[in-house]
Symmetry: C2
Subunit: 247 residues, 2 copies
DNA sequence: TGTAAAAACTACTAGCAGGTAGATATGTTT
DNA sequence: AAACATATCTACCTGCTAGTAGTTTTTACA
């Protein structure tokens, strides 16, 4: 709609009530990172119900910024990539970015949050449902998280490499998400061992090794390479089960 | 000796012949990255035989620079870390660095080369000796490379994260080393499968998964953490053998 | 079509960081 | 001790980049 960022929609309509409600969350014009991951639609998460068209516009633009920045941060590194680079990638100008993000670091925080919050959501979804066995549950978590790190490849790599540039507050917030994820994975494996489905003689920190398998994928996987994402994920699941001694 | 970089030696002696010979390799004062990894002593590789005392001084200072830069690049990232930071870490000045390295990127190249060239040396050493079985040979390679990535933790992480900032030439040179390493590991595993010692139904790219296990260690291992390096390495070997189906 | 509000832009600043020229200090040899 | 060579430093330049103030353009709606 504006300057290369075309909002995909039909008619514009003002919804004052909804806008008022939502401004608590969106905090225009300083959209903070937390909100980004939750409120954006197509790329990052489902449309927030009850959001006004206007806030959807904002979420859409925020998303496009995060997407473009993620790609450039991935290629050139966070510190070497200028906001002018990001802006020109989107055919907008730097002050445009500043009307959606407090500063450069806030864009990074939004990127870092994508991968980990999606992984956490998937994990909690799997844990909430019954899968018959601990083995099946582990396989399902690994399969889904594997899918995320492949789909969000650039986000994940940027997160891994550039997290040190986050402000203290953002760093703590994102680390909390990460710890919650790690903790739940660890628990899941402990339960599998206790149930007798996984071998008892495995490394008590086996979750770390499985995490390595998964975390390393985004650095070597190439969408244009020989192996399809599906193939990689199947072998990943096989490798994870073998590490857990649950073949 | 000068300004915080104390060369640990007794007397100074001039050895014109040796100096002349060596200047081919050392190329004073523009020591390039290749030479660094080969010519430096205590930290990176054994003393080059026949080197003059003078060239040892140079190698020592180059080493100290690489060490300090590696640490700061690890903590702050390559692009965010200034050469003034590196210089003040060593209590020297920026032009001092420039008399040992062509530019900032050359320091990065030296860092990147440490881990991969050591790993390659270890791999070729293991392959040159008989280990009785393919299983034992794989275990030995994994054990030794695991030790390197732990000992050279910061170097390896900087390499993984910052390689994109290398000049095209340095990039190509270091990537060649890396490819040679990957290729030989792949061959080793193929031989193990062919011999019947490893399972046949494993992922043909299993070396990539084992590589992930190893490459991920430097990002989570902490020398001050609960687990000793030896313990981590033993579990690493166990995990690698299990992935190869060679328990 | 006119008008007010929102969105985006142009043009700028201040500070920083890579890199260098020339001065100074240190060591060596006779 | 003088003279030369080497090593290191001081002081600077230049280009770049995060962030901003104020102006212009676009949109929504009467």
């Amino acid at each position: 709609m504006f300057c290369g960022i075309v909002v995909p929609t039909g008619r514009h309509r003002q919804n004052d009530a909804a806008e008022g409600e939502f401004s608590v969350t969106i905090r225009l014009p300083w959209v903070d990172a937390m909100t980004v991951a939750v409120s954006s639609d197509s790329l990052i998460s489902p449309r927030a119900p009850g959001a006004s068209l206007k806030s959807e516009f904002v979420a859409f633009k925020v998303n496009r910024i995060v997407e473009a920045a993620s790609h450039l941060f991935y290629e050139r590194g966070y510190s070497s990539c200028t906001l002018d680079n990001v802006a020109s990638e989107l055919s907008v100008t730097k002050p445009f970015l500043y009307s959606y993000f407090r500063n450069k670091e806030a864009i990074l925080a939004a990127i870092c949050e994508v991968g980990i919050s999606e992984a956490l959501a998937v994990l909690e979804d799997v844990l909430a449902h019954d899968h018959g066995s601990h083995r099946a549950r582990l396989a399902e978590v690994v399969r889904k998280v594997g899918r995320i790190v492949i789909d969000r490849q650039e986000y994940v790599v940027v997160y891994q490499r550039e997290m040190k540039h986050l402000s203290a507050d953002d760093y703590k917030r994102i680390l909390r998400l990460r710890h919650s994820f790690d903790h739940q994975i660890g628990e899941m494996i402990r339960e599998g061992v206790a149930s007798g489905e996984f071998r008892e003689d495995i490394d008590p920190f086996i979750a770390v090794w499985i995490g390595g398998l998964i975390s390393w994928i985004p650095t070597w996987y190439s969408a244009s390479g020989q192996r399809s994402a599906e193939e990689v994920i199947e072998y990943l699941v096989q490798a994870a089960l073998r590490l857990a001694g649950a073949e």
